[in-house]
């Protein structure tokens, strides 16, 4: 056992002396592994980044909110079955809330109507178009987790009286007011004047597709006055217990059927959406990325491994006489095998560490310059890439090292 440890120490010493002596050759060989490891780790950061980005985005939607809507998320093939559904009107929220109040042990907390449309926000010369504008009640504050960077949400009185007040998303406020405070100022939303009473703090975007900061929140009554609600609304229903989403859905379905006056046996003429549906949609995308990533990283690692195998064959050939000498001095097969395996593994490890450092730098640069791209570095990535490096070294170094260990000492000693 101690002999093995001494042999291993000696092998590492020889391996690093060998790498030092053949710097250029070792670096070029390690390059293949570096590329492979960069591919592996970047793929890892991307997948992790998508995961975290996605979970963060879902948290913005609220993981305790069910969405009662005419259409299911993610599109349908039999659209004709949905097109004729009666629209969901904002005041159905009131009816729903009354049912919730009357239900003992209800899983539902509150229903909030949200009507929306795209408008523009204008202040002086500054104008932002395509602002996601919603009309809702004061209960909306119970749904969102976001803080206000300035001001507040409108209260019940303001909401019910349809006062022309508004809350702006962070980006909208920044775009039209720049550095000055928007509180108390009057902006034109869709051409109508509204007094700014609050700004929601920055939330970021949903998967980089939809920004939560590009919005304006109006009292439903004001929204109804200036923009039509005939296209209907969605009802956002907050639930009490996140762990009982399925039960809550069931209760909500029953309540909504009563609100909509549906007869027994009739199919639901509404859909209850939840963020879990997004997850189900994203999983195949993630799997696709992982699969493509696996293929690409596998390919680049394979090329790297061939390089290592080649250089180990060369190394064995060059040092045939040395192998003969070592065998004459008492090196067993195992000793020679380990020596060349360790040499291959060492080059791979150097490549792996360099690749990891490169990925780390890339991730830092990307997260600073392009914060929208979700990348995340993790400790497990370090272990994975080291394990992959070692495995690559062992797999690619084995054939030449095995050959070296089986050399006939007489033949090896005579080799010039």
């Amino acid at each position: 056992m101690t002999r093995l440890i001494y042999e291993l120490t000696e092998s590492f010493r020889i391996a690093f002396a060998q790498i030092r002596a053949n710097k250029l050759r070792s670096v070029l060989t390690a390059l293949g592994v570096i590329i492979g490891i960069v591919a592996v780790t970047l793929m890892g950061t991307a997948i992790r980044g998508i995961d975290t980005g996605f979970n963060k985005s879902l948290a913005m939607l609220g993981d305790d909110v069910l969405y009662v809507q005419k259409w299911p998320w993610g599109g349908v093939e039999d659209w004709w079955n949905y097109a004729n559904r009666p629209v969901i009107m904002p005041d159905q929220a009131d009816k729903l809330n009354r049912i919730i109040e009357q239900t003992p042990d209800t899983l539902l907390e509150v229903a909030v109507p949200v009507s929306s449309r795209s408008t523009s926000v204008k202040y002086g010369e500054n104008k932002v178009s395509g602002v996601f504008t919603i009309g809702t009640t004061a209960e909306y504050g119970r749904l969102i987790s976001a803080d206000f960077s300035e001001g507040r949400l409108f209260n019940e009185t303001e909401a019910n009286s349809g006062r022309p007040v508004c809350v702006l998303g962070f980006d909208v406020a920044e775009a039209v007011f720049q550095t000055r405070s928007p509180l108390g100022e009057t902006v034109l939303i869709g051409g109508y004047p509204f007094t700014v009473i609050g700004v929601v703090s920055k939330q970021g975007s949903f998967l980089g597709l939809f920004s939560f900061d590009n919005q304006a929140i109006l009292p439903l009554e004001a929204f109804r006055k200036y923009f039509s609600v005939r296209r209907g609304a969605e009802l956002r229903v907050k639930i009490n217990d996140k762990t009982r989403v399925a039960d809550a859905r069931e209760e909500l379905t029953g309540a909504m059927r009563r609100v909509r006056g549906q007869l027994p046996g009739e199919r639901d003429n509404f859909t209850i959406n939840e963020q879990g549906a997004f997850k189900a949609q994203l999983d195949p995308i993630k799997q696709g990325i992982a699969l493509a990533g696996l293929f690409i990283t596998g390919l680049s690692l394979f090329v790297g491994a061939i390089g290592i195998m080649n250089i180990t064959f060369v190394s064995v050939k060059e040092r045939t006489k040395e192998i003969g000498t070592r065998k004459a001095l008492g090196a067993r097969r195992r000793t020679i095998l380990l020596q060349f395996l360790i040499e291959a593994v060492s080059i791979c490890l150097i490549g792996g560490i360099a690749g990891l450092a490169l990925t780390y730098t890339l991730v830092q640069v990307v997260s600073v310059t392009l914060p929208a791209i979700p990348v995340e570095f993790s400790v497990s990535l370090v272990f994975i890439s080291m394990a992959v490096s070692i495995a690559t070294g062992i797999v690619s170094g084995f054939a030449p090292a095995w050959g070296a260990s089986r050399l006939d000492p007489v033949v090896a000693l005579r080799y010039e």
Binding site: T2, R3, Y6, E7, E10, I14, A17, Q18, A21, K321, E322, G324, T325, R326, K327, A328, L329, G330, A331, R332, R333, R334, T335, P409, V410, L413
Partner: protein
């Protein structure tokens, strides 16, 4: 004029032979070279005792190298008996032979065969690593061996910083370091000028006086005459075997 490699025979002592180390009887070795079968050894019998100083001579093709490989446990006979300190070598497998070579045999090669990127000391330590000695023990023994060959001041030089004679001394130190039963030298002066050759042979004489068992394989009569006994090979057979003088 270069000094003669031939030794001064008058007045030199021959140590009494000790117990039997090598016992070869009726050894043959066949090689397959394409369609041809080569009889490198056709039935060789030799006994070598501790404290002997033996030269193996013969022209090329005589089976000299084959016998040397056999004596060094680098190769096993096709037929015949080979016992090394009573152990049957003929039937040993690779790793067993490696252990015998490590513990019992010190090799000295014509081309020195030092590891180019290791220091003299590291080269000498190598057999001790394979023997499983601790680093401290290795260092102490290697330094002692280096001092024994007169290179105590050259421990941390690499082979390319040493002269040919010094390199061969390092190789001899490496052969000695594990206190082997025999030292097997293959043309030890073949790559050296005659003055350095004389020095190396003087070192061998000193090692012999210290109680080592030496086997020198050579084709040079002058070198062979340093030994106390010469075994001459021709065509795979022993032509003569007797004391020098």
């Amino acid at each position: 004029m270069s000094p003669s490699l031939a030794p001064e025979l008058a007045g030199r002592t021959t140590r009494p032979a000790g117990p039997l180390v090598i016992d070869i009887a009726g050894v043959t070795k066949l090689y397959q070279m394409g369609d041809e079968t080569i009889h490198a050894l056709r039935g060789v019998s030799v006994k070598i005792h501790r404290n002997e100083y033996l030269a193996v001579m013969g022209p090329s093709g005589s089976g000299k190298s084959t016998l040397m490989n056999m004596l060094g446990c680098l190769d096993t006979p096709t037929a015949g008996r080979y016992e090394f300190t009573g152990k049957n070598v003929a039937t040993m497998v690779d790793d067993e032979l490696a252990d015998i070579r490590n513990r019992e045999i010190g090799f000295v090669f014509q081309t020195f065969n030092l590891l180019p990127r290791s220091t003299a000391l590291a080269n000498v330590e190598l057999p001790l690593i394979y023997a499983g000695h601790s680093p401290a023990e290795r260092k102490a023994k290697a330094i002692q061996a280096m001092e024994n060959v007169g290179l105590g001041a050259r421990l941390h030089h690499r082979p390319n910083e040493l002269s040919g004679g010094q390199r061969q001394r390092v190789a001899i130190a490496r052969a000695l370091v594990n206190s082997p039963s025999i030292i097997l030298a293959d043309e030890p002066t073949g790559n050296l000028d005659s003055k350095t050759g004389v020095e190396i042979m003087a070192l061998f004489e000193q090692l012999y006086a210290q109680g080592n068992t030496l086997i020198v394989v050579t084709h040079e009569e002058d070198i062979a005459r340093h030994a106390r006994r010469i075994v001459r090979l021709r065509d795979g057979l022993i032509e003569s075997d007797g004391p020098v003088g």
